[in-house]
Symmetry: C2
Subunit: 643 residues, 2 copies
């Protein structure tokens, strides 16, 4: 860039936008980052209405274009996930300490609701292990399942309703932003920790124990296992190990040959059927291998009358409902998104929350407990080639047929088979490789992950989660309170100015100290930024004295990376300017961005520093500084001559 | 910049720094932003030791160079602030519902400790109204002062000790960063709200009431005033109004003629003396004007044996101690800093906390309650021309003489005079102009300020504070979760690329979409950033279709303002790249900063995207993109020709 062209482009000193404009724009960015109706601006009204309906009921988007060719894929996928839903439903219901049939109910109604409102094509609806355990743990605190199973089950439904309402509210108020604060590291650690706990819990089923603890932490569970050593049943353990080995082998097959994914997909139902036959013909329950027991025929009864908000017990379902809602959303959306990315589609998190919320509200009224989009089931659905949400409908129909005709057959399922199914699923959730990757790439993320893991394993699930989220928030706030700054140097043969630490060849600019600021500048970091700038100056001045080069006459603050500023931040600038003035150093601002410029104008800082001290680029500013340094030196020479 | 020079400077792809190096550097920036020992690196060992001692005991810095000329100034300032300390000490002790003599004790020991450890030359140590009220409110919750005044006073000392320990701990662990989260807006609102409450409380003294409420909120206080209407004493009210008018008049004089600051500085002691004479000769207590009552001669007795950590009562002092510590630090440091700035000096917040902590620990063991650096007293000290911390020593000596010889004289002080002194001081703390300025310049800061104000006035002091800090934190997190991004356009006649919203003349670059990202990119905002970039692309593509210009071939992400990235952020980049690849769009990164580059290298993202896709400046990248676009078009033309 030549010197003459530099005068052609100046800083924009326009009047700040009005408050409503700024507020509207910020509000939109905060809550509607995906601008869902942005593309409707220029459409006719009737089309607009149609699009809005389609937005809230995605089924109107895909059903009209649905055909037999697509149905063939969805039919196959639907049957495959149904075969997974039966054993998972029974197992996880056992984990939540409710009647196993409720697990089967939960795969009938919610998938139908999701098919109406859900926007993910690959998500398969079902119950999840972690949430089942969390619900059990929170409700056990107020009513132990063994003491009053009917009240306990009512509270599980209430918890599901609360969970659904929380999800719905988050969706309506577009608070997907809350889920953004559950980081992947937290989820990895939390899932791993929960998986370990659930595996340990399965030792009860594996060893055929009759007495066990209601605590979920690792120490209590291990102690309970060894305290009841006399109840250990070697027959049960043997069968369990065989089943587990079989399930793990099918997993191994899937990993080696991804095409054979169906082997591991149908393995659980095979386990259940083989176990059931074995139990029926071998009278397993008389040989120390307990079975599930009576399962009634018939589809979901209504459960509206079972919802209870009795203040005596509400604390349990409330806690369980809120925690499971957050985890279910975070997990469900993350899973939906990751499969959507594989197919280059986009998922709207806020809309998914609406669908999850509605499906759990309706579920809680029809004898279902918490459902979401579990990873294992969704992966099977995806691999089985599902094309639309219709696969969930197919699964629901399969479940209905099962409930109407086959349910009693599953009463012979040995508990040990269920324990093996859960254990096998959980072993896949302990992602030690991911933790190692975290360790290698980001130590703090690793700490966040480990806090969740060990917190869950040794303290409790909610404490582990809080600990980890707390640490992550502290890091976020430290980022905010201590934004990175750097000293800029001139890169030889260009007009670029870059971090001297990163580019050690970048050379100092005589008489000028250029500093790049980043991140928003506001109350939490303005003190720090002031201190940091003054420290750069101090170091620079002592360097200049050592080297014998001239003293600093200008400080250039590159604000290009500063996305916003508040009045405390502007106050810090005023202070810096005052301190620099007393040292006869001039402060220059480079390229303030829109929001920053507005705040500087409104607070009259632009008037204070003078428009001539704000430049659009570092090169311009340095050009101008050098010019005035030269001319002032020239002047003093002239003055000397005159004298 | 010419094309040939662009190849001369490349991006630095050096190996990432080791974890210990990065950790050390981040740790230092977070906790030692002012680098207190940085300038000692090249000093000899003996000098280093001396400097470190001087750092922790600033008195070694200024005392050796102290002389009579300086002392003359400090003597005058010391006597002036002592004359303020006597009425303030008695008044605020009344506010804290403790023996008035404790208020006088508190201006004797703590200033001496501060003179040893404190680094501010202008700060005058003393008790403060807001903290006095907070202590009273928290301890009243466990033991009402009227029920057991001895236990109550013991708990006040305990609270002071806890406060001192908290300050000391924050100083030792250099957690000044915590105070950064108490914004000016919060403090303005909180102080204003507390001032209103304290003024209302003074109606008790002004109206000579005998019965009053122990609640602090506005509604309870006003109700108590009107419920006891029969107790109202017109004599007391009349005298009170006269004193208040006198005090406000001296304040007005000071504002109009800053040189006459001493008029308002000595006004409180004049009020006390005149009131005392009037009460003594007029037997005021018999005419419905209550007086302070017996004040014992003698300096501070020890109070070590009065410290109690009885778990039955500890909640009160603990809450009071922690809250007052935070407020005292925030206020004290802010005040010390603002006066230091006037004289171009710097105050180390963490060191000030050490001094505050030590002075309160020693104070709590010698019958003093919470002291800090109140604004009014510090301003008087500054205006009276203090030169060093010696003015605090002079004040302490004056207080000692008062305690030894004059204390009984002050027992005739009418309570109404104290009420007038407190009211007058508090009226100055309600900064409606500052609130209006906030409203004009930053609506959200105004909301934060009002939350503190109304929370304090109508709910309770700690709730008001929590509400306001909570809102400020939410804003900080929203800043983090929704960083500003913008689309860049080319500024005609330069090689600059700037926000098209800010510079509407900036022109689009055909086939290229350049986006500037800001702030750290990490788990809380990576989803948002991905969505936002894809939205820019969607808008751009539909614009391009409308205008009939070519489709987008490159997306340039300017990372110059991105100060750090975590692995979730890198994950988002991987996803963006995958989505763009499927649309046959190439992703280009511009100028990643040191920390970001390291994370991209460690996670192997640099390998994935290719070193040739990372540029040092937008101009370089566009040059290169244009070149390959041309050559590919050229190629296709050649292919057509061949065909």
């Amino acid at each position: 860039m030549s010197i003459d062209s530099s005068s052609a482009h100046g800083v924009n000193f326009a009047e700040p936008r009005s408050f409503p404009t700024v507020f509207k724009s910020n509000f939109k960015e905060t809550l509607f980052p995906d601008d869902p109706f942005g593309h409707l601006k220029n459409e006719p009204c009737s089309r607009k209405t149609l699009k809005v309906i389609e937005y809230f009921l995605p089924i109107f988007g895909w059903l009209p274009r649905y055909n037999l060719a697509l149905f063939k894929y969805d039919l196959l996928a639907g049957i495959t996930i149904a075969s997974l839903a039966i054993p998972q439903g029974i197992s996880y219901a056992k984990l939540a300490e409710i009647d196993p049939i409720i697990g089967l109910y939960s795969s009938f109604v919610p998938p139908l609701i999701y098919a109406l409102f859900g926007s993910s094509k690959h998500l398969a609806v079902g119950t999840v292990a972690a949430s089942s355990l969390i619900i059990a743990a929170s409700i056990e605190e107020v009513v132990p399942a063994s003491e009053d199973p009917i009240l306990y089950t009512s509270l599980v439904f209430t918890s599901t309703l609360i969970s659904g309402l929380v999800m719905l509210a988050l969706g309506v108020f577009r608070l997907g932003i809350l889920v953004d604060f559950l980081s992947h590291s937290t989820i990895t650690g939390f899932m791993g920790g929960t998986a370990v706990l659930i595996c340990l819990q399965q030792l009860k089923g594996m060893l055929g124990l009759k007495h066990f603890t209601t605590h979920t932490d690792c120490v209590s569970v291990v102690r309970a296992v060894f305290k009841n050593r006399k109840e250990w049943q070697w027959e049960s353990a043997l069968v369990g190990i065989i089943f587990l080995a079989f399930l793990q082998f099918t997993r191994f097959v899937k990993q080696r040959r991804p095409k054979l994914f169906w082997v591991s997909a149908i393995a659980p139902i095979v386990t259940v059927i083989v176990g059931g036959l074995f139990a029926y013909f071998g009278h397993a329950d008389k040989h120390g291998i307990p079975i599930v027991g009576a399962l009634k025929k018939g589809i979901n009864p209504l459960s509206i009358n079972r919802i209870t908000f009795d203040p005596k017990y509400i604390a349990g379902p409330l806690k369980g409902g809120v925690v499971t809602a957050m985890i279910a959303i975070a997990e469900g959306i993350a899973i939906g998104r990751s499969f959507a990315i594989m197919k280059n589609e986009q998922i709207d998190g806020n809309k998914e929350m609406l669908a999850f919320g509605l499906m759990n509200i309706v579920g809680s009224l029809t004898s279902c407990y918490l459902t979401t989009g579990p990873f294992s089931k969704t992966a099977v659905n995806f691999n089985a080639g599902c094309r639309t949400q219709m696969s969930n409908v197919v699964m629901a129909i399969c479940m209905m047929l099962t409930l109407l005709f086959l349910a009693p057959l599953f009463s012979y399922t040995p508990l040990v088979a269920l324990a093996a199914i859960i254990m096998s699923a959980m072993l896949g959730l302990i992602e030690y490789e991911k933790a190692y990757h975290l360790y290698k790439t980001d130590k703090f993320d690793f700490v966040i992950c480990m806090a969740a893991f060990f917190g869950v394993v040794f303290i409790s699930m909610d404490m582990g989660l809080c600990l980890s989220v707390g640490l992550a928030l502290i890091r976020a706030l430290v980022y905010v309170a201590r934004p990175a700054t750097c000293k800029l140097g001139h890169i030889h043969g260009s007009n670029l100015y870059r971090d001297v630490e990163q580019y050690p060849n970048a050379s100092d600019i005589p008489g000028i100290l250029a500093i790049q600021l980043g991140s928003p500048i506001y109350y939490a970091n303005s003190e720090y930024i002031r201190e940091r700038i003054l420290r750069y100056l101090k170091t620079e001045q002592s360097d200049a004295t050592l080297k014998g080069t001239g003293h600093i006459e200008y400080i250039l603050l590159d604000l290009g990376g500063v996305s916003s500023i508040d009045i405390t931040g502007v106050g810090a600038f005023v202070e810096i300017m005052r301190i620099l003035e007393s040292k006869e150093i001039k402060m220059i601002l480079i390229n303030p961005r829109l929001g920053v410029m507005e705040k500087l104008t409104v607070t009259k800082f632009v008037e204070k520093i003078g428009k001539e001290s704000i430049f659009l680029s570092i090169a311009d500013a340095i050009e101008s500084c050098k010019f005035s340094m030269k001319s002032s030196k020239g002047m003093s020479v002239v003055e000397v001559n005159v004298a």
